[in-house]
Amino acid sequence: MALIPLAMMFEGDYAIYLLPVDSEQTISDVAALSAEWEIPARVLPRPGATLRVRRHGSENAFPPQMKVGESGLGFMDPIEVYFE
């Protein structure tokens, strides 16, 4: 278990936030934690949409059940959390 702080960009927000996650958490956990902080405070929910996570600049989302420690994400790596 290791703490990995990420730079999280959430679709619909205007800023980037520090998101500390554990290497044992899944990508799905990362999306859920991001949503917990962003919805409804800063971003409108989108019923029926699924939240996905990808490395900034990548076209492909991480598999939801992949662990953060397996994703290759490291200290302050920027990620995008977006609706699909």
Binding site: P40, D77, E80
Partner: protein, 126 residues
């Protein structure tokens, strides 16, 4: 964004207008990295130097960094200090205390959120 803040104020949920974590800062100017609403994905300026990630608010800040990278590399912005565990407690409140901002120093909306009240009636008739 302001629609969400207005909703939170009008529903008595002022706490939702406060961030749950700290914003990521530009590695050069130390200001929070933001972008105009409506731009997605965010055109982030970034750099990996000697194995460390550096994020910037703009291309000029990234350029300044690269002019003297050894001068600026390793100087941690507030968010990196937080990420490394140098700020305790590791919470938003802890970060504010680290910056010397006591609760009485932080202030509140200068109008007492009167601007939000002006939307209450509009929303009733909308």
């Amino acid at each position: 964004m302001w629609d969400r803040y207005t909703d939170s104020i009008l529903s008595g949920r002022e706490e939702l207008t406060q961030p749950q974590t700290i914003p990521v800062m530009c590695s050069m100017c130390q200001l929070p990295i933001i972008h105009p609403p409506g731009t997605w994905p965010f055109p982030l300026q970034k750099l990996t130097y000697r194995g460390e990630n550096y994020l910037f608010c703009s291309e000029p800040c990234r350029w300044v960094f690269l002019e003297e990278p050894d001068r600026y590399a390793g100087v941690d912005s507030l968010d990196k200090r937080f990420a490394r565990g140098h700020i305790q407690p590791a919470s938003y409140e802890g970060a504010l205390a680290y910056m010397g901002l006591a609760p009485e120093d932080r202030g509140r909306d200068a109008t007492g959120y009167a601007w939000a009240e002006s939307f209450r009636e509009k929303r009733k008739t909308a």
